[in-house]
Each structure stands twice: as structure tokens, then as C-alpha cells.
Amino acid sequence: MSEYNFAYLDEQTKRMIRRAILKGLAVPGYQVPFASREMPMPYGWGTGGVQVSAATLTPDDTLKVIDQGADDTTNAVSIRKFFEKTAGVETTEETEKATIIQTRHRIPEAALREDQILVYQVPIPEPLRFLEPRETETRKMHSLEEYGLMHVKLYEDISQHGAISTSYAYPVKVSERYVMDPSPIPKFDNPKLEMDAIQLFGAGREQRIYAVPPHTKAVSLDFEDYPFEATKADHPCDLCGAENSYLDEVITDDAGNRMFVCSDTDYCRSRREAGHAGRLAKEDAA
């Protein structure tokens, strides 16, 4: 593509974003303000992730884009095509082969390596936002490490519902300092936040970038007597038989019958290719 610079953004903008990324990596979990640009896709559709990916991509990279764990969801397709067109990089659906993975709402099941970067699309970067709508206040709370409000919220959950009633975008404390919103991943994925790969979070509309460097502590908030619990549907995958992958529940007929399948489509495919089979594997093949 000759009309646009490599990966769409001009080099100065990429430099500005890279500086924000480096600052984010230096202060894990801290939300770095950056001058987010208007992108040719709408705010709220991954513009933060796209800008972080654009600033991180090199011509030798291989890009994977997932939404809800799947490579073939419409917005993942759209973002992958955008980079195919504007950066001309190779793309893949295989987690293993990707050097940069842009994701919305999931962490891949397969463990990521040190030479991989996971880029999250973030709608609301501020974990305290729904407790305090004002940015001026929440920034103050972070700088004073004043997270009492969050613990009160979790406590009220328990007193009202008998459990912490947050099932996704479950807050974590990063490197024993900043409370961070891991983006709306299901809390099942929270334990995976401590990983070998670099994790970058981009919120375009809200103009924030933050990061979790490799091998960094990311502790899901809880209480001693109500410990954090990563939950999923209590089934194996009906296609590949996986016992410990996050599952989508699919309504299969008018009678309301259900099946459960891995949300990570690449994980499910690779397991089936390796010969694993679930309850309905045969029917699907037919």
C-alpha cells in the first residue's frame, strides 16, 4: 500500500505510542495517557488495540487477531484485513506461529512465549470507573494507592449475593501497586495474566495505554475467606473434549438443547487434529 505509511499510522505517531508503551512497561498497571488518533474504525471497536499493534508491528511479524477467542468473528476479520492491507504482514490463526496477538475479551488457552506480545482492546481502562465516574478523582485514588472503595464493593457483593458478583473484567493488583482492569476477559482467564509474554493494553477512546511486563505478579482481588475462583461452564468441550478450556454455550435447536465448545477456536482445532474428540465430535465431522 503506497497511500498509507506502514501499519497506517505515521512514524511520529508511532513513536508517541511507543513512548507510552515503554512507560507503561516501566510502571506496570499504570494507565499512561496518550494522544489517541482517530482510526478508520469506530471508537469502541478496538482502536486502542489497533494503535498499539500498529506501533508494535514490524514487517517481519506474524499477526493473529481474535475476538471472543475466535479468529473468524466479524470484527477480528475486519482488523486482520486492515493490517493485511496497511502493513502487508503475514497473518495466522495459529497461536503458536503468531508474534503479535491482538485480542478482545480472551487470553488464548495455549501458554504464550517470551517472544510473543499480547495486545488487548480495552473499552474502559479505569477499574474504579463504575465506583467513581470522575477521572480527576480516580487518578488521585491511584496515586495515593487508595483502593478501599474497591474492597468495599467486593465486600458488599459478598454480603448481598454470598459471592463476588464480578465475572469478567475482574480487577487485579499488578506488581503489588496498581489496581488494573484486565479488560473484559472472563475471570477464568485472570490466572493467565502472569505469563512469559508482554501484555499491552490499549484504550483508544479513553486515550490510555497500560502494560503488564513478562513474569509480573497480577493478583486477582479477593478476601482470605472468599478466595478468588476462576470459573467456567462445568462441562468438557463437546468437540475436542478439553476439560479445562473456557467454553461457549451454543443453543443448537428450537428445543433449546445446548452444546459447549471451546471459545478458543485455534486451541479446539489443534486438539481435534491431535486426535482428541468430545461428545459430539463425530456428528460435527459428518
Binding site: A35, E38, E135, T136, G162, S165, S167
Partner: protein, 363 residues
Amino acid sequence: MYVAVKGGEKAIENAHAWLAEERRGAIDVAELSLAQIREQLSLAVNRVMAEGSLFDPDLAALAIKQARGDLIEAIFLIRAYRTTLPRFGYSVPVETGKMACDRRISATFKDAPGGQVLGPTFDYTHRLLDFKLAAEGEVASAPEALPRTNPTPHITEFLTGEGIIQDEPPSDATPGDLTREPMEFPSNRPLRLQSLTRGDEGFVLGMAYSTQRGYARNHAFVGELRIGKVEVQMDIPELGFAIDIGEIELTECETVNQFKGSKTEPPQFTRGYGLVFGQSERKSIAMALVDRALRWKELGEDNMGAPAQDEEFVLSHADNIQATGFLEHIKLPHYVDFQSELELVRKLRREAEERVTMKEAAE
């Protein structure tokens, strides 16, 4: 049987093809030209330029055509294009005192140097559908007069001399740039004005209206409203002086607001300011009212807790491209999060039922 939902790529392509067809409409109806849109839907073009923050009537017309007349979509196209343009530099401030006015009215003085010029306005038209327009027809040309050659002075200048209106001390400080730095709060007036001038017309209008209805009322009069063309000048380093690089149409509104004085300020009139690309009258008046409401702190007024006084609230929600993107993103798949909510609600219901059963058993 369940078949993995594949084929998103093909579906997207087909949807785009259908969209293109719908955009064109019935092919036995002549296609709109950009010149037609630019000339005959010029107020739509103006709005797209104002909120798209790019003065280019031809590109705005193209965006309106491509967006099927959805102006927010057209504004989005312009914004996305504008962000790719290299930044050569900044113009010197435009001199609206030298504006060649098509329209210039004041509600505070019956007459003033430069006169009241109604210009091409909908005001005083009776809003009756003109069925003649349904048939094609030539328009009789309007009577013409010789244009004023002298500059038209700002009305508020006449009040400034008397010291009866709050002074606006000039400053040579370089204002921040909303499109180059992230918005942080508390912000400042230049950034607020930048945000308002590209803000959604409906939102800014609603905010302004709320001040008129008593949510931080600021008693505004339209001191002056002027619409016309101004020269844009830029310093050329090689030349060492500024030269004209073009002209743009602007609407400027200065409100004069009643003010009884505060703890820090004497009784005097205060000001609100609106400046918008093109002929954008409603927007510039609304902008001036909201600007004035947001100045409560600097004028030592009380915070009434009104939405229009709340800088963080107004500026965070004025941009329709941000708003529409985030609003519409809830169309995207959210089934992973929904699944985890399903698990949670099922678990909570199970536990609630168990509690009831246990309680009944105990009784």
C-alpha cells in the same frame, strides 16, 4: 447439528456490496454529484466540516454522499481522513474583525457601526413546505448592494471601552492542541473551546438549552453573531512574514451575559464565545452559552452542580465520534462475557434456592 460459525469474511464482503447498492438507490434516478451536495446541501456540508475539524467542502460533500446522508458517519469519514494528513504548521490566528460578513446581527444594540445585516437566514421565514420546490424551477436572483469595504468592528468593543464588560486579557501563550495531546482534567479554556467547536451539535445545543432553563442560568444576550469569510495566514519561515494561504467561512458568536458580580469580580457583563466552521449559527450560539457556563470558576461563581458547569462531564461526552463508536460497539459479539455472567447468575440462583430449602427444612 452445530456447525462452527465460519464465513465471517464472506459475510462482510457481501454486506459491503449490498451497502454500496443501497447507497446508490434506484438506478433509474440520477446520481447525486458532489457539486450538487456542496452547493445545495451546504449546511450539511458545513456541519460535517465543523465536527470533522477539516475545512474542505468537496471532501465533506464526498463524505455525505458515501455516508448516505448520515452526517455523523460523514463526520467520522472526515476525521479518519484528517488524522492521516501531515501537519505543516499552524496558521496565525484569524482576524474575525476583518471578516467579509454575509450576516451580522446584534441583539443588544438597535444599530451599530457596520449595521444589522440579515443575510441568508431562515429567521422570519414561515415554516411552510414550499411545494414549488418539488417541481424543478429557477430561482429569481436576490437584490444586491455594494459590499462594505471597511472592516466591521466587533460590537463588544464598544462595551470594552466603558469597562462595563469583563476584560479578556490577550495572551501570546501557545494553546494546547486537542488532537495532539490527550485531554486531561482540569483542562483550560482553549482546549474547552476546541472540544466544543468540534462537539456534537445536538449535544452542545442540549447543554446550552439546559442553562437557559435554569441549570446554571447565565442570562445570555447575543451581543453579536457574524458569518462570513476570513483570510487564513501562515508564517513562512523562508519569507520571514505571514502570507495568505486561503480563506474559510466562519460563524462567530459573542454573547454578553448579565452578571451581578461575585466574591472576586465586580458587577459587569461577562462573555461567552463560539466560533465554528461554515454557516453554523445554532452551533455557535450554543457553544457560546456552554463556554460561559464552564467559566464559573474563573469568574468566582458558585458551582450549582449543573451538568453544563461540569467540564469533565461536558468535554468527555461532546464528541459524537467517540460517543457513537462506543454506543454502537455493543453490537459486537460479547458472548464470552455473557457466558461468564450466565454461569454467575446460575450459581447465585442455585445458592439462593439452597438457602431457601435449608431454611424451610429448619422450620
